[in-house]
């Protein structure tokens, strides 16, 4: 649909402009896609559950209404305890990564920035690896040491990069990016060493690196949701600062934006969303890098459009990819997403010959 609009635009020259002038249409399509993945995600899985049974479970659990369909306890568990929290978690994580990605790309004025650009991924992975290697089994309300240390590791590495890289000056952005790369490299070395000595625990570390939503549960969802939704909303509220900084630090300063303070706050918020997402689902790539670009291609670079639409589109993309991953036997979700998403992205990029800037 969106792709079709763009392709015709190359000849007509009007449709992209038409879409661009109507971000609400793009938003509505994204919401529709989100609802569709919600319905399909809960309705489909490796076990066949009749739609009537699915509705019966949801109505009785949500509203206490018995719609007259008998449901086995196993079906009830599958729909309510396995599928629904998993679909909602996928949406939450997709939202977090897309918003964080859009924020980092805008802040760093770098199209290759993704949620992990400040070393968050390596930090989280080292945290998870340490948790796996420690001979301690600690579980507090469904959160193990792995989740805790991954969260702490992600935030700690982002903080370290920010402290070392600084934010000010014209060369500041490059410095921040390179600091992120350097810290990430050190952490990656630590991670490799941890994996080398991990023996039979290697698989647990490896599955964290691949990322996935198999560990979703209501409790984890409820704990992560405020962090992710909270930081996403706060980022969106700072859309004007993001727009200003896209013009360059000096221009932003002339617009009355306290550049170094705003940059610090936005980096902190985006890192928080990323850390919460990573702690729950491991390292899921692609969505945070590509969704903001697709949205910018469609509605232009204004943050007040890019951020909310990215949030919705990221949620829809990750839950759709997770559904695909589940249906083909629980393969890593990142694989499905990149295989299906990257060609679509290439297509959009190819069609928008008019040029594309952040």
């Amino acid at each position: 649909m969106a792709a079709g609009a763009l392709s015709r635009d190359v000849e007509a020259g009007g449709l992209a402009a038409w879409v661009r002038a109507r971000p609400l249409v793009v938003g509505a399509v994204a919401v529709a896609a989100l609802l569709l993945t919600l319905v399909l995600g809960v309705g489909l899985g490796s076990v066949r559950v009749a739609p009537a049974e699915t509705f019966a479970v949801i109505f009785s659990r949500l509203f206490g209404i018995d719609i007259g369909v008998t449901v086995s306890p196993a079906t009830d568990v599958i729909v309510w305890d396995l599928r629904l929290p998993r679909v909602l978690t996928a949406m939450l994580i997709g939202c977090a990564l897309a918003v964080a990605g859009a924020t980092f790309q805008g802040l760093l004025r770098n199209p290759l920035a993704d949620p992990y650009v400040l070393g968050t991924a390596s930090g989280a992975a080292v945290g998870a690896a340490i948790a796996v290697l420690l001979p301690v089994q600690l579980v507090v309300v469904e959160f193990g040491l792995l989740h805790g240390l991954a969260f702490v590791g992600a935030l700690a590495s982002a903080w370290l990069v920010f402290r070392l890289g600084g934010t000010g000056g014209a060369g500041g952005l490059t410095r921040l990016l390179l600091t992120g790369y350097a810290v990430g490299s050190v952490l990656a070395a630590v991670l490799t060493m941890a994996m080398y000595v991990s023996g039979v625990e290697l698989r647990q570390i490896f599955s964290f690196l691949l990322g996935g939503l198999g560990g979703s549960s209501w409790v984890r969802l409820v704990v992560a949701a405020p962090l992710i939704i909270g930081s996403s909303v706060l980022i969106m509220a700072r859309g004007r600062s993001l727009d200003g900084m896209l013009l360059g630090d000096a221009a932003a300063g002339h617009l009355g934006i306290d550049v170094s303070r705003e940059r610090g706050v936005l980096l902190a918020l985006a890192s928080m969303a990323t850390a919460a997402a990573v702690a729950i689902s491991g390292l899921i790539g692609f969505v945070g890098l590509v969704v903001p670009h697709v949205v910018r291609l469609l509605v232009g670079p204004a943050a007040h459009r890019v951020l909310p639409i990215s949030a919705i589109a990221g949620a829809a993309l990750l839950s759709a990819a997770d559904l695909g991953a589940r249906l083909v036997g629980d393969v890593p979700v990142g694989v499905v997403m990149a295989l299906l998403g990257a060609p679509f992205f290439l297509f959009l990029l190819h069609r928008s010959r008019s040029g594309y800037e952040l």
């Binding site: 490796s46 076990v47 039979v200 549960s217």
Partner: protein
Amino acid sequence: MSLTDRRRGVALLVVLLAAIVGGCSSGGASSSPAPSVAPSPSAAASEAAASPSPSPTPAFPVTITDDEGTSVELAAEPKKIVSLTPATTEILFQLGAGDRVVATDDGSDYPQQATALPHVATFSSVDVEKVVALEPDLVVAGGLGFTPAESITKLRDLKVPVVVIYAPSVEGVLKDIELLGTATGTSADAESLTTAMRADMDAVASAVASQSPKPRVFYDVGYDDTTGAIYAPADDSFLAEMVTMAGGDVITTGDPNTYEIPLEKLIEKDPQLIILGTNPFYSPTPDAVAKRRGWDAFTAVRNGDIRPVNDIEITRPGPRLPVGLRTLASAIWPDVTLPAAS
């Protein structure tokens, strides 16, 4: 981005480790090496139990402690069992509980009847949704990361009883068989099975015990043709114990948990005999083994003493261990006549 590149390298390592842990189906837990099977302290008692007398006390409800120390309560005799490892599938069928097994993992290839059952797990993951849909009253999972810890937690959160089994030693396998006997209401069968297994393995072990000098045996667990990485039994592994029992002077990696051994170290240890553990995923010919770079330094290669064996019977911690031990003992001591199987 750098992470992605490294992941690729690591993936290879994982695949290799997977092949090893999967092939052994037991992994290498640290345990005190017990070179021979301890004679059953209650041999007389178990012989009495072997005669078909009904168990004196009602067997259920029962609370058992699994190999990870988790207490699992079973209210009644399980009627629908899901087995997530090849070894536990074999044990369950051998105990006569096979007709109650409703699903297995995709590696469960023995006995024949088990292969017809639906698969709810692969080496890398468990389809929790499918398991739940079967409404099992007992799930038998593998420890040491064989069944992902995440899946075990999830099933337990959903009130599905999960018993985690892993055997760090031959004695541990026998204990596991008895544990599964208690869990499935087949204790009497389990006890007579383990008694027979003990007797059989002791007979084989003592037949070769007096042989000397013991050859330095390298059990080839795996080899990476690209990197030249060599995999051998870890010091504390189940496999090292089997080779020792079969009358070999086992060459191990020198670390309780590491399965990789550097070529230089192996040359220094100079194997006199290479036992080639073959399975569906790893089946090089002795000729190919002899041609590996640097391997002509081994006495075993120069003398052509490379003997393939069925790795599954030797390394799968289940009821076929006595068969595996026989295979191993006759590979190491081809001229010794082993006592007939009981």
